[in-house]
């Protein structure tokens, strides 16, 4: 009896096997034919064979080029999106770093996949699909590969966008092709994992319109639903569950959960939902240790300091920071990455590269005044953020920047924090007005942010003093009275003006610090964390921040 794996290989690769057999036959015939020749003619034939092969190849290339150019509209038609390869990936569990919480959850999933028989025996429900939500660059694909490696199953991967075509039915056909390949692999290996990245491309909520505008996406998704359902029904001739049904679908997306169609999220399709978050402090430390081990880094480099500085950074961001730091170190003529290199790399990524823009003296002074205003209010009033850098060197589309970071991730924000954010935004404007009596276009971005926060506080968070509680944005606009809108907007305006007033008072009070910062900025152009800290300490200001 032919072993199952051999049968699988024959089913999957019969075309390739036929081609190999044909090539081998041709080789044998060629050898026999050449052997029948006298040695001189044989030598001549062998000597001219490479040239002949080259000529044949050249002719073929010319023919294909002409054919594709004149008959088929170019080489773009050559690409075959439905080329699915089943591979054994080699991503070990230990390679997945920076997501300890999620790993535990994923390990449980792996155990469930491995112990299918036991789960079935006690009447449990077999896992069909896992849906991973999380921001980009957090290692969803990596985790899926680790799951495949741990479960000892082949891994078939496709991106959601690869199913999307302008032609109706193509996406559905690709879904069928993908599952067919996965079942073939499952037949041979006892199971297979399908990974669909950017699942939202085909899993968005279906729209049932009379015009059929989204028919293609609908049909692709319907096919996915049908295939995932169909997995449960395959049985062999003895009525036992066929190994072909052991196909687990892992989907990953960074779209919000509620954008995914409910049908996909119901049990029997994607049974398990895994939320992947950006790494915490400890995870960031591990990530920095891991990526720094791949470059020549100074041994005394304080990884915990780096981790504290890299709040809200994803694993991909941290990898990018380390790579950039290596480039910075090379640029600075060092053969090892030191703390300054990583800091510069982080700044490069966060606030952009320095631009050689020539400002007038007045523009420089206005910028210094603007940024110093931000810095004073941020340092003194803000409950969570630290001033890491003040700069009047143009970067991206700004003339200056006050670079701040929270000490730790915050998943919710207090009224104080939001008010502080508004005040920090408005400080640039107030500072400019106090010094010059007029303000510049540099306040545009700040005003936008401040107004957005104030509006959000009043309309959605019930944080106004007038007692308007509830989220007014969910009410259709036509159902809110003009009077109510006016009142709400008045409250927004009140917060805005109150914040300006408080900032004015603060900056007047702390004018010596403000002036000192302005002069320092004008002479040095950039002030680092330690320099900022020293100036404030000089004026008796200490830095006590808490998460709340």
């Amino acid at each position: 009896m032919i072993p199952r794996k051999w049968k699988m290989y024959i089913k999957m690769y019969w075309v390739k096997l036929a081609i190999v057999a044909a090539i081998l036959s041709v080789i044998v015939l060629a050898v026999v034919g050449l052997n029948s020749l006298e040695s001189y003619y044989r030598n001549i034939t062998l000597a001219t064979m490479p040239v002949n092969l080259l000529m044949v190849a050249l002719n073929a290339v010319i023919f294909v080029f002409m054919y594709m150019t004149f008959m088929k509209g170019g080489f773009s038609k050559l690409s075959n999106k439905l080329r699915v390869h089943g591979d054994f990936v080699d991503v070990k569990w230990s390679d997945v770093i920076g997501m300890e919480n999620v790993k535990e959850e994923a390990m449980e999933v792996v155990q469930l996949i491995k112990d299918r028989a036991r789960v079935k025996k006690i009447g449990g429900k077999i896992l069909r699909g896992i849906l991973m939500f999380g921001p980009p660059g957090c290692g969803k694909t990596y985790l899926a590969k680790a799951i495949a490696t741990e479960a000892g199953m082949p891994f078939v991967s496709m991106s959601g966008s690869e199913f999307v075509e302008i032609f109706v039915g193509v996406g559905a056909a690709r879904v069928r092709g993908l599952f067919k390949k996965a079942r073939e692999l499952a037949y041979g290996y006892g199971g297979c994992i399908i990974f669909i990245d950017e699942l939202d491309a085909i899993a968005r909520k279906r729209v049932f319109s009379a015009f059929g505008g989204t028919e293609e996406t609908n049909s692709t998704q319907n096919q996915l639903l049908a295939e995932m359902d169909g997995l449960q029904e395959i049985k062999d001739k003895h009525g036992n569950p066929s190994p072909e049904q052991n196909v687990i679908v892992i989907g990953a997306t960074n779209a919000p959960e509620d954008t995914i169609d409910r049908a996909l999220r119901r049990p029997g399709r994607f049974d398990r939902i895994v939320y992947i978050e950006k790494p915490g402090l400890e995870d960031r430390e591990k990530l920095f240790t891991y990526y720094l081990s791949k470059v020549e880094a100074d041994k005394s480099l304080d990884v915990s300091r780096l981790a504290r500085k890299a709040v809200y950074k994803s694993p991909a961001d941290i990898e990018n920071i380390v790579k950039e730091a290596a480039l910075v170190a090379t640029k600075n003529g060092r053969d090892k990455v030191i703390l300054e290199d990583v800091s510069e790399a982080m700044e490069r990524i966060d606030i952009g590269l320095k631009r050689k823009l020539k400002m007038t003296p007045h523009e420089r002074e206005a910028t210094a005044c603007h940024e110093a205003g931000h810095a004073v209010v941020l340092y003194i009033l803000h409950p969570t953020n630290d001033v890491f850098k003040i700069s009047i060197i143009p970067r991206k589309d700004t003339l200056g920047v006050t670079y701040s970071q929270p000490k730790e991730e915050l998943y919710s924000h207090t009224k104080d924090k939001l008010l502080a954010d508004i005040k920090v935004d408005l400080a640039g404007y107030v500072s400019e007005k106090m010094r010059f009596g007029v303000t510049s276009t540099g306040v545009s971005g700040d005003f936008k942010d401040a107004m957005r926060i104030a509006h959000f506080m009043v309309w959605s968070l019930g944080m106004s003093d007038a007692g308007f509680l509830g989220d007014y944005t969910v009410i259709p606009e036509s159902q809110i009275s003009e009077d109510m809108k006016e009142k709400l907007n008045e409250e927004t305006d009140k917060i805005f003006k109150q914040c300006i007033k408080e900032v004015e008072e603060l900056l007047l009070k702390e004018k010596p610090i403000l002036e000192r910062l302005i002069s320092e900025l004008l002479s040095k152009e950039e002030l680092e964390y330690d320099e900022v800290e020293a100036i404030f300490n000089e004026f008796g200001k200490t830095h006590i921040k808490s998460a709340w």
């Binding site: 080789i27 050449l34 040695s39 001189y40 044989r42 030598n43 001549i44 062998l46 092969l53």
Partner: protein, 328 residues
């Protein structure tokens, strides 16, 4: 890219496999050349031949029943048989590990063995023809074909005539004959097959070239429009000799002047020199032959001669030097 690499790898493997599996052994081992030719001629062309080798020369004797017709032309049957044998000899010479430079086919009519056709070919020429390095016309010119009275038959006739005319005791005739034939052939003209015995020598490149140049000169005088009208070539003989420590190609040309020719005697001689030197330069250059110190042409009719060294000959060939600049 990966697919292209795989494809190229497959081609290389395929080619290497073919090369290895086919092996590099020769089809006709050097020690079985004679048997091989005899076998091929017998099995494939139903011809009985005898084969002898000496040095790097292979000689095949082909007896035929109807060599020539009434017009002294080769019969179709004889021509085909000779071609078959030449082809067989070429096959073996090309696919053997023995170093064969020349092969020679001697064919004669069994009813008249004194008249023989001798064909001499260079193996290198055959290879160059296969490699399209030379044209078929050039290849034909490089082949030496001679229909002649067997030199051995001539000698035997002379001895018999002497014994007959001088009434000498015939019991000594065989002894004299044996002594007479003891000496081995010294030139291409002595090669032949007589009385169940091969008279052969190892052909060298220079003597082959000398003979070929002489043959080409004959052809030129026979077919060249102006030469044909001006001269009547009586003889053209080419040899490669060693004289005073110098290796020379020497060509003796005897050409009668046609009665209606207008040119003077010296100019005629120059024309002969020009023709012979031009052919010699072309042939020697064609074979990349370097082992000679000069070419001498002797006009037997006028008793004038010219000798040129290899540099002058090359300059003459490339038209950088004219005949009057060489000095007669």
């Amino acid at each position: 890219m990966v697919r292209t690499k795989k494809f190229l790898l497959l081609l290389i493997i395929n080619y290497t496999l073919c090369a290895i599996l086919c092996g590099c052994t020769s089809t006709y081992p050097g020690d079985k050349i004679r048997e091989s030719i005899v076998k091929i001629c017998k099995q494939e062309y139903k011809s009985d031949v005898l084969v002898e080798t000496t040095g790097r020369t292979m000689v095949i004797y082909l007896p035929l029943s109807n060599l020539m017709d009434f017009s002294f032309a080769l019969t179709k049957e004889a021509s085909e048989k000779i071609n078959d044998v030449i082809f067989s000899a070429a096959r073996v010479a090309l696919s053997t590990d023995a170093r064969i430079n020349f092969y020679c086919v001697i064919a004669h009519d069994i009813k008249m063995p004194e008249l023989q056709i001798i064909i001499i070919k260079s193996v290198e020429d055959v290879k160059r023809l296969f490699a399209n390095d030379i044209s078929r016309g050039e290849y034909m010119k490089r082949m030496l074909i001679d229909l002649r009275w067997s030199p051995q038959a001539k000698k035997e006739q002379v001895v018999k005539e002497v014994f007959s005319r001088m009434n000498l005791d015939p019991k000594w005739q065989d002894q004299v004959m044996t002594d007479f034939f003891k000496s081995e052939p010294t030139s291409l003209g002595d090669i032949g097959y007589w009385d169940n015995k091969f008279y052969i020598k190892d052909i060298t490149v220079p003597e082959f070239l000398a003979e070929q140049i002489a043959n080409r000169v004959k052809l030129e005088f026979r077919e060249g429009k102006i030469l044909k009208e001006t001269f009547l070539l009586k003889s053209a003989r080419g040899v490669y000799i060693l004289r005073k420590g110098k290796h020379l190609f020497r060509f003796d040309i005897f050409a009668e002047r046609s009665t209606y020719g207008t040119a003077g005697t010296i100019e005629d001689s120059d024309k002969i020199f020009e023709t012979v030197l031009s052919i010699a330069a072309h042939v020697i250059h064609g074979y990349h032959f370097k082992d000679y110190d000069g070419v001498e042409v002797f006009d037997q009719k006028e008793g004038r001669s010219i000798e040129v060294n290899p540099e002058e000959l090359e300059a003459f060939r490339t038209k950088k030097l004219r005949l009057n600049e060489i000095g007669v």
